[in-house]
């Protein structure tokens, strides 16, 4: 039976109106402007000169951009390689109904995800300080051979950045993995045990295939987030101009921010934004192609 009384024609538009108006003004229109701006050279808002594709041509040969891209890629890959196994490992350890204090552990591991990047970065600036910082202080107390002047924020920028991001997001990703682990069929695990499979065999042949779709999603989300990293390094390396010595801490979005808002070239910043968008879309398409291939 079809509905006796249809909704009035205005109803959906009434509910959509506030969102649509704001979306058009502050999302769709800026997106159009981002395309136009990327073909201009500007000196602050409102003062632009059309330069065609020169921004992109310049970008391709801009050594600072390539430095930023390389740093960002190093951070993304390093972060992924360390964070994913830690997050998955913690999730597997916590995924036992008989485990006592499961909720408390989950709470503790998750809690850093609440801390904003600025606040975490402020904390980690001091944690990685020479002599007095928590890391150097603790390592020197434990191992007398450790150099208390170890230059985390001067020479090991990406390592300290990856560690800070690990603290922030390992527990967050763990919660995703925990949810994914609920899809692992217990009967298959039992059957594998009876067939004589060890923990590793069960993980490889039962657990991993079952969580693969969600794992793929987490990896993609993590890559997209890492590629946009800005505030964490910017505040952590603020004393060295946000980018660290020799721009070793410069990331793509940090470069975008600096050209757009410290130098005032909104056009060049938009060009950087488009390259970033293209990279992310390419990664998303790759993920889609890969996950399609798996389900077939």
């Amino acid at each position: 039976m079809k509905s006796a009384r249809p909704h009035p024609a205005w109803a959906p538009w009434f509910f959509l109106a506030p969102f649509l108006l704001l979306f058009a003004a502050f999302f769709a229109w800026p997106l159009v402007r981002a395309a136009v701006l990327s073909l201009e050279q500007t000196y602050g808002p409102g003062v632009g000169v059309f330069v065609g594709f020169r921004n992109f041509a310049f970008l391709a040969r801009d050594p600072l951009f390539w430095t930023a891209l390389r740093n960002t890629a190093v951070f993304t890959v390093g972060s992924l390689l360390i964070q994913m196994p830690v997050a998955l490992g913690l999730a597997i350890l916590l995924n036992r109904p008989s485990l006592r204090g499961r909720a408390v552990f989950r709470l503790i591991f998750f809690s850093p995800a609440l801390i904003g990047m600025v606040f975490a970065a402020t904390l980690f600036t001091l944690i990685f300080e020479k002599q007095t910082g928590l890391v150097n202080f603790a390592l020197h107390s434990l191992f007398r051979g450790w150099n208390p002047d170890f230059p985390w924020l001067e020479d090991y920028l990406m390592a300290s950045l990856i560690l800070a991001a690990l603290w922030l997001y390992a527990g967050f990703n763990m919660v995703y993995f925990l949810a994914a682990l609920q899809n692992v069929p217990q009967e298959q695990l039992d059957a594998a045990s009876i067939d004589g499979a060890g923990p590793w065999g069960r993980f490889r042949h039962v657990t991993l295939p079952a969580i693969r779709p969600v794992a793929g999603f987490i990896v993609m989300l993590s890559i997209a987030g890492s590629f946009q990293i800005f505030v964490l390094p910017y505040v952590m390396f603020l004393r060295t101009g946000g980018a660290g010595p020799l721009n070793r801490g410069l990331t793509v979005v940090m470069y975008l921010y600096k050209t757009g808002f410290l130098i005032g070239d909104l056009g060049y910043a938009s060009a950087i934004g488009w390259v970033l968008a293209l990279l992310l879309v390419a990664i998303a398409l790759l993920h889609r192609a890969l996950s399609r291939g798996e389900t077939q």
Partner: protein, 287 residues
């Protein structure tokens, strides 16, 4: 057989030892921040956490001081920033949730021309990175003469494409079309249906989305950094980042400022754990 039993007997304590170690590593930065905030400059360098002394548990409790907090609120517009953060985060979470819920409702429970196109438009733009919009949005806010105003920061936050998507999913799953139809038959108005029938049915999503929006604005740095320039309008995130340039070597001050900035969120989290976790991880497993 024996090896397996040994592993089982040893496994439990080993598992707990490992988990406790990891929990400690996670908690240590928090503990360091909190203890540092209550230490004077001299004590900071002498001990890792609490200053050693002859008091209870071998701690010099009388060395702990509120001096950092006093100076923080006296020398820096910290109280103002705290109020600004609460204001911006509350207003945004309230109105963005309303906008998102209404949009999601329209896209999930109504049939109209252009629905498919609108839905894919909203979903398609969600993949674009926010930094791409920084420059054109700044330009737009400048032309609207809204630079350095709360409205200039707030307005773009109130159209959450992701929220529309989440609410659309939640309403497709949790609101049977028959309920809405029978309410209509009984003569219930469209707006009343939305507020008294639809919203209560997706209450978990409403709570989760309010929380993620609140958290997102509280922790946002780049938005207010670009739009809100005068000190009296800045939220905690911007004020704290600025603190480093004047008080970078004053560890007690820095940690007191960080503690003041994160304590409200941690308190909220302890009160609403379930909503926080489901909110922050929404849209993946269910979607």
């Amino acid at each position: 057989m024996n090896a397996r039993r040994l592993a089982r007997v040893l496994g439990r304590p080993l598992l707990y030892a490992f988990l406790v170690l990891f929990a400690a590593l996670t908690a240590v930065p928090f503990a360091w921040m909190i203890t540092s905030a209550f230490k004077s400059g001299g004590d900071f360098f002498l001990s890792l956490f609490l200053p050693a002394g002859n008091g209870f548990l071998g701690v010099a409790w009388d060395h702990l001081t509120l001096d950092n907090f006093r100076r923080l609120f006296r020398e820096v517009p910290m109280a103002r920033s705290l109020v600004n953060s609460v204001f911006l985060a509350s207003v945004t979470s309230l109105f963005a949730t309303l906008c998102g819920a209404m949009g999601g409702y329209a896209l999930s429970r109504f049939e109209f021309r252009g629905r498919g196109l609108l839905t894919s438009l909203v979903l398609g733009t969600a993949i674009l990175p926010v930094p791409l919009l920084l420059a054109p949005r700044f330009e737009l806010i400048y032309h609207l003469h809204l630079l350095d105003t709360f409205a200039g920061y707030l307005l773009p936050q109130l159209a959450p494409a992701f929220g529309v998507f989440l609410f659309r999913q939640a309403m497709l799953n949790h609101i049977p079309a028959e309920i809405i139809e029978s309410a209509r038959l009984e003569g219930c108005g469209e707006i009343r249906i939305f507020f008294t029938l639809v919203l209560p049915l997706v209450r978990p999503m409403v709570g989760a989305f309010i929380i993620i929006t609140f958290l997102g604005v509280w922790n946002d740095f780049i938005g207010p950094q670009i739009i809100l320039q005068s000190a009296g309008r800045q939220p905690l995130a911007v004020t704290l980042a600025g603190l480093g340039s004047n008080y970078g070597n004053d560890y007690g001050m820095m940690m007191a400022g960080t503690l003041v900035s994160v304590a409200p969120i941690i308190c909220l989290f302890l009160l609403l754990q379930k909503e926080f976790i489901s909110g922050l991880t929404s849209g993946t497993v269910k979607g």
